[in-house]
Amino acid sequence: MSGFSQKQKAELRRFPGSMVVVVVVGTNNNSRQGGSCTPQRGGGSGGGVISGGSMSTLSREENNMVVMSSEESSSFPDESELELGLGLSLGGGKAKNKPAAAAAAGGGSWDQYARILTAKDFPSVVSAKASSSSSSSSSVTKASNNGTCGTKRTAEPPSSPPGRSAVSQVVGWPPIRTYRMNSLANHAKSPVTEDFFSTADKCESKNIIVDKTNHGSNANNNVAKEKGRLKTSLFVKVNMDGIPIGRKVDLNAHSCYKTLAHALDDMFRPSAAVGAKRSNVEEQVLIAATRQPLRLLDGSSDFVLTYEDKEGDWMLVGDVPWEMFLNSVRRLRIMRTADVNGLGTHERNRKQSTGPI
């Protein structure tokens, strides 16, 4: 599981408001971010992310957010599904413009998983702070711009939300080591249970099995399932710029670039999946690229689909015949069109990255 590349780090610095991962109420001092934060693994708040454009629409003053990088692709499939590409959310999610300050103070409903909140969500930041000193065990969302991971949400949700628990709101809870979280995220659940396939909302059943880089003749293969059906899969990692959580896609489930692009589109666009509720405000701030199809292949969108081949070079998807592509692809990346010009050089730098920020 790789940490942020140099390139990604550079991007984070360039888009201070964009790579938000953590709920924060902080000062305007967004100058230092990224570098020193440890990931919000336990809180599950590593999920909420917005791609580049969305946050830039907010002014600095409004956007009282402290940016922190997260350790990207190691969240849970469930969570990432719900959070990818989503814009700002309000803690409540039910009411449209419901200020999450209420939620932060323990009032709102937390039927969301980790979301990005902005200062808008905490109109009464000051009063929230004042009340926190007397409240007995709720923690007001705070964070440091030096990358403390002290971000907390209220520890006292009023009711357990359906589908997603309040557990995911709290940093460092449940107390599971980072290493184990990473391991869990990278090695998805076993495919061989009826239970698994029968639960419709377990979309990650599609994302089962981890890909492997090849040593020798080893293809990435799935194994015989209990039902006796032998299916060969070719799972590769997919990362999208601006989204710290990676996904995996089975290339053998597609026969051409078009269906692949479509699948990626579904994956990385916000969908009406499990329990996801968004408010109007969210809708407004979602960038065009995420509301509409990514149109990854036709060069007309803000994003472009690239892949790393066997030699370690990053290439544009779509140039070679599909079978040849399957033979040489190691992993995919949905890049911003703006960054494509640096395709060769930046990726060289990327490989020299030495772990997370």
């Binding site: 902080g26 007995s136 002290g150 557990v167 449940p174 990278n186 492997k212 880089t213």
Partner: protein, 590 residues
């Protein structure tokens, strides 16, 4: 174990005559005393020995060869180097445990470099270094590799800060290396070139663990390494290594006692399947098995041949179903320790109860920690089933989504020998799901019944009553972890007043305030550390503590933008080294 009382009596009777610096009246020449003391290994005993008198203090410090420092900031490298001269092995622990859960800023500290510099000068004969929760830079590793010609063993647990370059220095230069053990590494993808840097004639390795590093390594280099290190007994590879690669490694090292497999994700030909099966079958000495990523019911049976001698099975990296676990356990009659994920369900735990009568330790991790769905995971029923069948249970770590007081009471009646009881009901402040009452009685029963209890983690809805019980009954308690619990300061006070052996207390999100903090004024010097976050502490209270107790370091991690009053995260520890100099700006030492 105290030194022989007779001996000490003879010595102390001489004390009034000697002025402490020389001891001509002592019946024991220095050499004899030192010889005797050199046989004492336990650092706790040695600490006791050093308190007897000055002569013993000196004799002890000249003979100590294993150094254990539980909190790297409790003492300085200079002080250590002055006191001990013959150190061969060092164990050093850094960050507070809550750093495992991302509650500390990344640059908080615990950098090993200043220690490394001092050791390089003071202990040229250093052989072993074991670090936990410390930051280890490449620079430190390079210094290590070049400063200690006799260096043999490096163990890094939950450490970060190093990359491939640092490890390369180790593998290139440490020609006598017997152990390279990297566990729970926080930064996983650092590069894998280090493995290829062992010299071709290098063959002393006995322990190699890189299971938590996810980078690719050269399989060819690994295979060559394994085949020439004839003493290799512990091999834990990462998930890049495939099943048939593993088979080739096992062929070279059938005498392994501990094996961490790679990934099981591979489609094997029948021939390959047979090969791996027989390779496992040849591992007659296997006691510990782990890794097993992506193991599925089709491939798990290849392990069966290696399981008869297994004492520790770690399946916490694989998502197993109850039936698969049951079948596997049938082949493991000697299991003492078992780690699984809660995908095995209560049914899987029933199988544990019926198949593992010798079980002493059980850890059940959540496969999906954020899923509130009670259909998945384990409940009180699974725990009960285990307790009925595994009466020797003494260590449990159990993540669940529901629990009852009655169940826990029964569990500890079945298994009164618990030394470590860590129960995590994952939804904060969740009551007994049947009675809707707090879980006070559950933990009260644990404290009362388990007289040997050393470590306790509590969860669920808890009032001060729980802590009254703990303070009253848990007389051997050394480590207590509390989250989202308690009703008032009284809770914490009960614990501080009642638990004489308390060494580590970590608290988060509890309504304990300054009064509670200050009630432990005298106690903190007898403890290793106290952590309190998201409680009701204020800067004023922390300052007061710092002022009253100058030998405690009181550190507050402030959240930027929070007011001047709240003390968000407080870390208190005893130290003879004074306030630390390397704290980042965000950490205030009061």
């Amino acid at each position: 174990m105290d030194p022989d009382p007779k001996k000490s009596k003879v010595l102390t009777s001489n004390l009034p005559n000697s002025n402490g610096s020389s001891h001509p009246h002592s019946p024991f020449p220095d050499e004899v005393l030192e010889k005797v003391l050199s046989l004492i290994d336990s650092h706790k005993d040695r600490n006791s020995v050093s308190l007897v008198c000055k002569d013993w203090y000196n004799a002890e410090r000249w003979t100590r060869s294993n150094l254990f420092i539980g909190n790297c900031y409790s003492v300085s490298p200079e002080i250590v180097a002055r006191r001990f001269t013959k150190i061969k092995s060092v164990t050093l622990k850094g960050k507070p445990r809550f750093s495992d859960f991302n509650m500390l800023p990344r640059d908080w500290g615990a950098n090993v470099h200043s220690w490394m510099v001092t050791f390089a000068k003071a202990y040229p004969f250093l052989e072993e270094l074991r670090l936990k929760r410390m930051r280890v830079s490449d620079q430190s590793m390079e210094l290590l590799a070049k400063s200690f010609p006799h260096f043999r063993a490096l163990s890094l647990s939950s450490c970060d800060g190093f990359t491939d370059d640092g490890l390369k220095a180790i593998t290139t230069h440490c020609g006598n290396l017997t152990e390279l053990d990297i566990q729970d590494s926080v930064t996983a993808d650092i590069g894998g070139g280090w493995l290829s840097c062992f010299p071709e004639n290098f063959s002393s390795l006995e322990i190699l663990n890189f299971s938590s590093l996810s980078s690719e390594v050269s399989f060819e280099a690994l295979e060559r390494l394994v085949s020439r290190c004839r003493s290799l007994r512990v091999l834990k590879v990462n998930d890049i290594i495939t099943l048939d690669q593993l088979q080739r490694l096992l062929v070279h090292a059938p005498l392994l006692t501990e094996l961490g497999t790679g990934s099981f994700l591979q489609e094997l030909t029948p021939r390959q399947y047979e090969d791996i099966e027989s390779a496992f079958g040849n591992c007659k000495n296997l006691r510990v098995l782990s890794g097993l990523w992506d193991a599925t019911s089709f491939y798990i049976p290849v392990l069966y041949g290696a399981c008869s001698g297994l004492t520790f099975l770690n399946m916490s990296d694989t998502v197993l179903q109850s039936g698969e676990l049951a079948k596997l356990l049938a082949h493991c009659p000697n299991l003492r320790r078992l780690w699984v994920t809660d995908s095995v369900g209560d049914k899987g735990l029933e199988a544990v109860g019926s198949s593992c009568p010798l079980l002493e330790e059980l850890r059940v991790f959540p496969a999906d920690p954020y899923d509130l769905d009670h259909r998945h995971g384990v409940t009180e029923l699974g725990f009960l089933a285990v307790s009925r069948g595994c009466r020797k249970l003494r260590y449990v770590l159990y993540f669940c989504r529901r629990m009852t007081n009655a169940a826990v009471v029964t569990i500890v009646q079945n298994c009164p020998d618990f030394t470590h009881f860590r129960l995590c009901i994952m939804n904060p402040r969740q009551p007994d799901y049947l009675t809707n009452e707090p879980m006070d009685e559950a933990f009260g029963a644990v404290a009362k019944t388990c007289t040997k209890l050393q470590r306790l983690s509590v969860s669920g809805l808890l009032t001060d009553t729980t802590f009254e019980y703990i303070g009253k009954y848990a007389k051997n308690l050394e480590t207590l972890s509390v989250a989202f619990a308690g009703s008032s300061d009284r809770g914490m006070q009960c614990v501080l007043e009642g638990c004489p052996k308390l060494r580590k207390l970590e608290i988060r999100d509890c309504p304990f305030g300054n009064a509670a903090l200050l009630s432990g004024l005298k106690k903190y010097e007898m403890m290793r550390s106290l952590w309190m976050s998201a409680c009701n502490l204020t800067m004023k209270g922390c300052r007061l503590l710092a002022r009253e107790m100058p030998r405690l370091n009181v550190e507050v991690i402030k959240d930027e933008g929070s007011d001047e009053i709240q003390a968000d995260k407080v870390y208190v520890y005893r130290s003879v080294a004074g306030p630390r100099q390397d704290a980042p700006p965000i950490v205030l030492t009061l």
